[in-house]
Amino acid sequence: MTAVYRSQDAAVAAPLVEARDLKQHYTLKGGLFGEDRTLKAVDGVSFTLGRGETLAVVGESGCGKSTLARMLTLIEAPTSGDLLFEGRPAQDAMRDDPKATRGFVQMIFQNPYGSLNPRQNVASILAEPLVINTRMSGDERRRRVREMLAKVGLRPEHDVRYPHMFSGGQRQRIAVARALMLEPRVVIADEPVSALDISVQAQVINLLLDLQDEFGLAYVFISHDLSVVRHLARRLMVMYLGRVVEEGEGGVVFEDPAHPYTRALMAATPAVDPSARKERATVRGELPSPLNPPPGCPFHRRCRYARPDCKDRVPELRTVRGRKVACHYAENLEGEGAGTLRVAATA
């Protein structure tokens, strides 16, 4: 039998995944004379994810989105906070039944050239999770591998081929197939289409949507590309320096971004329409070092709306106009929605 994570009856009503104030702090040794320093890679992230839902996590490099992915996939234990799978602490589930718990959440990586072992053929790559986590017979495994290849749009007889014999898009299909071998309920996708060409990107996005419909998968979709996020995800979480700065329904956030950083991100995203050109560099400077974040609001030094007290008080997430936002002045940023992502040429 397949090892599928089975919940206790009492927990059925609980969301698939619930994160409560997750933190990941790394300690950097200061050496012989220096002091140890703390890098707050993720500093208090909370969300819930239900069956068949997609939550997009958006942010630039250094915002902590990949660290979050490592915690959600149980590669790293959080420094503090709770991670619940169907209402049950993930650490407990991992201790009691690691194989089933690993099958509950799986991951797809950005680069299909780096994430597949060049010395393993496709059959062996896809069968490996089954060998480790289940007691299937060889015949059963081979059957499952071929079924999965067909599901992700590859020819089952190509299971004897090696990764170098496939194009980038086909390799990403193999990586998707591998993530689905254990029939996970949740898939964490870390920039799964950003290494692909446009025409191939569209194919892989469609594949992810089809598989979500077929298996009722929940996705945590990590990306820096707002147009892809807007297409795929109903809910959106924007991160900056390890903290959530805005979270809400995609429609609400895209139409009327309330945090200055969300606005800046949207303004910086080029529109596919030469008649809609405008100034896009609306944030000053670069990301501060996460080792030495600014006091108060982490964004205040780059923020065009910053006021004197922004450097003194850390803004907490609060509800403004139907979404959560961490900005003291989200209600009255002057200037109309400076950066609504415009959608070009839609009928």
Partner: protein, 331 residues
């Protein structure tokens, strides 16, 4: 007169299974101060074309062209000594990975002063000029940055330093090969703004190579679309995005999530880009083209002006969006 003219350029590499034409039939002209975008997916030959122009391809590559002229000088005929005086000074290039383009062993200041080396400036003047250049590309506290090593700079800062080095020679033409692909989107916006400002202020021509349609839409005046080693469409940016004429350009735009908004599934292009040795002898796009007819399967269409209009060139027997009214409604 055009600043750069390329006519019928082809590049061939020897491989163990016979010669491989990475690029063929490239025609392109860039005027002074013009901003040309070259778009294509990986393997379309956009980088190889520019590397051939710069003379940066490995020696086993064979470059052929009917014309390869920069400011009236025939780049095919001049000596390699004379070519080096043009390339790197009058024609400059920046690359995708700013981190690996800089030498990690030397300070930023050393590398910029090196680029200034042949201009007859003394030590103090070179240093002053290096500070000016860093200031011009928007690096804060340029004096202090001179002594920074590349590993102390972020990706955006490294790309700015690369641009400063390129400006040292006072180029007439800057070739930027995916200059923002490795950068975050807010930093990408800053670098694109910088490139646009430099092109405008210095009257410099700019060729921007990218796979990103949105980046081209944002910056270029004219766009050349390449597919499988060949140019397939060229026209003004506004025209291309409103009314693409080649089926590949049309399909590429439809596949963008920005344009598929409201639909759950995105339109895709069936099949894959043909590999090195299975490119069709006729139209290269016909195996993936919805509109392919018999002539597409037998004869290669020329890259020719559409209806005699020299501003729109298409390599297709059956161009799309012929009915302008339909195109307007589709907008």
């Amino acid at each position: 007169m055009a600043l750069l003219e390329i006519e019928d350029l082809s590049v061939t590499f020897p491989t163990s299974s016979g010669p491989f034409r990475a690029v063929e039939g490239v025609d392109l002209a860039v005027d002074q101060g013009e901003f040309l975008g070259v778009v294509g997916e990986s393997g379309s030959g956009k980088s190889v074309t520019m590397l051939a122009l710069m003379g940066l391809l490995p020696p086993q590559a064979t470059i052929e062209a009917k014309r390869l002229v920069f400011e009236g000088r025939d780049l095919r005929k001049i000596s390699s000594h004379d070519r080096r005086r043009i390339v790197g000074r009058e024609i400059a290039m920046i690359f995708q990975e700013p981190m690996s383009s800089l030498n990690p062993c030397f300070t930023v200041g050393f590398q910029i002063r090196e680029a200034l080396g042949k201009q007859g400036l003394d030590r103090a003047a070179r240093r002053r000029r290096a500070v000016e250049l860093l200031d011009e590309v928007g690096i804060p506290a340029p004096e202090e940055r001179l002594s920074a090593f590349p590993h102390q700079l972020s990706g955006g800062m490294s790309q700015r330093v690369m641009i400063a080095m390129m400006l040292a020679g006072g180029p007439r033409l800057l070739v930027a090969d995916e200059p923002t692909t490795a950068l975050d989107v807010t930093i990408q916006a800053q670098i694109l703004d910088l490139l646009r400002r430099l092109q405008r202020d210095k009257g410099m021509a700019l060729i921007l190579i990218t796979h990103d349609m949105a980046v081209v839409a944002e910056t270029a005046e004219r766009v050349l679309v390449m597919y499988a080693g060949q140019p397939v469409e060229e026209q003004a940016a506004r025209g291309l995005f409103a009314r693409p004429r080649h089926p590949y350009a049309e399909a590429l735009l439809e596949a963008l999530p920005e344009r598929g908004f409201g639909k759950r599934r995105l339109p895709t292009i069936p099949g894959v880009v043909p590999g090195a040795l299975d490119r069709p002898k006729s139209c290269v796009f016909h195996p993936r083209c919805r509109y392919a007819q018999d002539d597409c399967r037998t004869v290669r269409p020329p890259f020719a002006p559409l209806h005699g209009d020299p501003n729109v060139r298409v390599r297709c027997f059956h161009p799309r969006n012929e009915d302008a009214r339909v195109a307007e409604e589709a907008r």
